[in-house]
């Protein structure tokens, strides 16, 4: 009988997130080197002449066209907000001081020549003071929202150092899995991802892709016990369990996106 993904939803209320964490499944799964090789082989079959990066958003959008990336207060807030909260937790700074430190650090990188063109540091260094204040305001909003979520959890929470990246060997493909908070207890590990807006029909598939990429990015291949998506705007939580069946489904979704990109590229090439 084929396994199906179990999605569990709940409204945000005091204790709801902690309850999801305390009831995490306790089964442990690990990715083997054979599974890594199999994934690489399949990505190689649908590779492109150029390098590509796949993430959960592309899975949710079924590789649909999106507008080209540009830095804006909205696109910068997560990077800055997460960094500020990490600093706040480790150095016990006030939210505003932590955010100032993060922005000064970015500007220093740009001023000392350690940032490349198009990077966040380089973009920030070109802004006026009013624009920088707007970026700070948006990033502080994100940081406050994330802190509110972190403080609603009874267990020990850490802000993820970075997103999860997995470079698929010889397939010129990088997988990027987003993660905002990590809750590790003695027996379980929970990833938390904070999202804007309201969850769509493919939100679960997106979370599953993030969970899969996170597992592949770990050297020991250990799969997190669950991933929880938090939509503060909609007051909703969505949980995906970290079973091997979910991981396979997540890998299939990523391959499907790669396949769609591959077909679209060669159709364009034939047409031109």
């Amino acid at each position: 009988m084929p396994s199906v993904t179990t999605f569990t939803t709940s409204f945000i209320s005091p204790g709801a997130l902690s309850s999801f964490i305390s009831t995490a499944p306790t089964t442990h799964s690990e990715i083997t080197s054979e599974q890594r090789s199999a994934l690489a082989e399949r990505f190689r079959q649908v590779s492109l002449p150029h390098h590509r990066r796949l993430d959960a958003w592309m899975v949710e959008q079924a590789a649909g066209q999106s507008s080209p990336f540009r830095w804006s207060p909205t696109t910068a807030r997560r990077v800055l907000g997460n960094a500020a909260l990490r600093l706040r937790f480790t150095q016990h700074l006030s939210p505003v001081v932590a955010m100032d430190e993060v922005i000064v650090d970015q500007l220093t990188r740009a001023a000392t020549g350690y940032s490349r063109r198009g990077s966040l540091s380089s973009w920030l260094s070109e802004l006026s003071t009013a624009q920088l204040a707007l970026v700070t305001s948006d990033a502080l909003n994100w940081s406050h929202a994330l802190e509110e979520i972190a403080r609603s959890i009874d267990e020990n929470v850490e802000v993820a150092d970075s997103d999860a990246y997995y470079d698929v060997a010889t397939a010129r493909t990088t997988l990027r899995g987003r993660r905002d908070l990590i809750v590790a207890t003695e027996s379980t590990c929970t990833l938390i991802r904070v999202r804007s807006g309201a969850p769509g029909r493919t939100a679960g598939a997106g979370l599953r892709a993030d969970l899969t990429i996170d597992a592949f990015s770990r050297p020991d291949g250990r799969v997190a016990n669950q991933i929880i998506g938090v939509w503060p705007d909609a007051g909703l939580l969505l949980r995906v369990e970290g079973s091997m069946a979910d991981l396979r489904a997540g890998a299939r979704d990523l391959l499907r996106v790669a396949n769609l990109q591959h077909s679209a590229y060669f159709q364009r090439a034939l047409a031109s």
Binding site: T136, L140, H144, D233
Partner: protein
């Protein structure tokens, strides 16, 4: 509900007497959701499952059906710029030239937009008049707001998307400023909306809608909700209690009925 002009700043009114703050109320959200879902389903029926009925603050206002949409008008630009002003003030920004500062911040956010092009093409006379108007609204906002506490958590432009009846109805809202004054154990969240128009009876509906949406979104009832007019400096502040939330539910049901009839 209290309405005041220049007596106390809106932040002082929202903060109130710290000793009289109640404990956080966490039971309201479930009751409100149940009340809304039961009544809304009877109004919207099953036809909206693939095309949700979206209710925003605009739908709560009782405007004539043929009310013209103020596209590309300076009123819309003024509203956008004043929201940006609040966002900048919330991080302690001090304005040198409000119009230039705010349009530059807006440009940074949206990149290119038709409204920005409209502003860029104003002639020198209109531009100067509009810049003075923006400076006056900004001054009223700064004066009416008062000072933020150093330990408060401020969140500007809080977007809300509460889905009801399995997604057949969406309550969409943007709360201009949500402030958590941060005393553990007390109800400390207060909400603020700003408008560039004078206050009227619709302002009360907006204030109630914000309180309802915040309750549904977080599961915790906020302490107070307020509206501040940057045109007149008037403010309307309300304690969020069961009666206010019940009235907010009635407003939503009325708006849903009106929208379904159209």
């Amino acid at each position: 509900m209290t309405s005041a002009l220049d007596s106390v700043t809106v932040l002082q009114a929202l903060r109130g007497n710290r000793a009289e703050r109640p404990a956080p109320r966490t039971a309201d959200a479930a009751h409100l959701r149940a009340a809304l879902e039961d009544s809304l389903y009877a109004i919207v029926g099953p036809q909206h499952f693939f095309n949700p009925l979206v209710l925003r603050t605009q739908e709560l206002r009782e405007l004539p059906l043929d009310f013209p949409a103020p596209d590309y008008s300076l009123a819309r630009v003024r509203g956008i710029l004043m929201h940006h002003a609040l966002r900048l003030l919330s991080v302690g920004y001090s304005f040198t030239n409000p119009f230039e500062d705010l349009t530059s911040a807006w440009r940074c956010e949206v990149g290119e937009s038709d409204l920005l092009v409209f502003v860029d093409h104003l002639d020198a006379e209109d531009r100067a008049k509009f810049a003075t108007e923006i400076a006056a609204h900004t001054a009223t906002l700064r004066h009416g707001l008062g000072t933020f506490g150093s330990g408060w958590s401020l969140r500007s432009t809080v977007r809300v998307a509460n889905l009801l009846c399995s997604g057949a109805v969406a309550l969409r809202d943007t709360i201009d400023l949500s402030i958590d004054t941060g005393d553990d154990g007390d109800c400390t969240t207060v909400l603020l909306d700003i408008t560039t128009a004078p206050l009227d009876e619709n302002s009360e509906k907006v204030l109630r809608f914000h309180a309802l949406n915040q309750t549904l979104r977080t599961g915790v009832t906020p302490l107070r909700s307020a509206v501040l007019s940057t045109a007149t400096g008037e403010q309307l502040v309300a304690e969020v209690d069961a009666a206010l939330l019940t009235q907010a539910v009635a407003d939503v049901l009325e708006a849903a009925e009106r929208k379904c009839r159209v």
